[in-house]
Amino acid sequence: MRTEKKTRGQTQNRHRRFDSFQLLFLFLIICLTILLGTILCNFPESTPGLADAVASQQKQSGVESPVTAVLLNFRGYDTLLEVMVLLLAVIGVWSLARAPVSKQTTEISPVQMGVVRLLTPVLCLVAAYLVWQGSHLAGGAFQGGAIFGAAGVLLLVSELDWIRAIPVSLLRIGLVLGPLTFVGTALYCLFITGDLLAYPEGTAGWLILLIETSCAISIGLTLALLFGGGRPEDDVFNGDIP
């Protein structure tokens, strides 16, 4: 209701030149631009950054790619919280609405089914390739997970029967697989070395690969379920959601 009123107000105000709020905003933006411009002009030509520090620690990190080393070894807790944010997003969407039942009358053309049959295996293959490549080149859990999620979206768009028949408990397990593995590894590291996410010597490479794989599965499922747009119909835990 409020948003409708707001849009109507905006459409009425469109022909007025500027109101005071817009002027204030314009002023703030101009101030910000001037500030950024001054900073940019006084910027030193070459900043040392943290590249040298990362490069000197690279050997201990267990991976060859500096980006993955920073994400999962030197600043592992940051990535842990990011994965948690994605899980929270799904929980939020599921608590808001149920997944809509598609009322599509036209049937799916065979061309689309052909595309799904051809592309889905390639998508899964490329997702695995990107996760594996994350240890030495560009790639990693987020990129691989996004491709995996794209495969899920492709299957959801094509409205296959078996994709609706997947038990919800399995989806829930898949969703928490990545975060749980991450937290489990962190606790294991805490137990062994006495420091959160400080991997024991020699095992860093394997642990990072384990975390990346499980997180990629969870991220992919998260994105596909966000596309689904709500709690699946046959959920066992029936609350009072409309």
Binding site: Q104, V115, L119, V126, G139, I147, V153, V157
Partner: protein, 78 residues
């Protein structure tokens, strides 16, 4: 390098079709042309900058090119 430079204005000019686009399908088609142009630019840049990783990005573009159009056909345009 030079070739990639020629392809980029292609995209810039194509935006006019999105803004004008008489039907929704026209806008979607333009987005798809942008995707293909992006793939070509990435391939040319990968040869020019000597960075083989860019081919992987082009691969991701090519894989996800169909996704938006399929969703558009099944979900939006009715």
């Amino acid at each position: 390098m030079l070739f990639a430079l020629i392809l980029l204005p292609n995209i810039t000019v194509g935006i006019f079709r999105i803004l004008k686009g008489s039907t929704a399908a026209d806008r979607m088609m333009t987005a798809q042309l942008f995707g293909t142009c992006g793939v070509a630019i990435l391939l040319l840049l990968s040869a020019g900058m000597g960075n083989p990783v860019l081919i992987d990005i082009a691969l991701v573009f090519a894989l996800l090119a169909a996704l938006a159009t399929l969703t558009f056909i099944r979900r939006t345009w009715e």
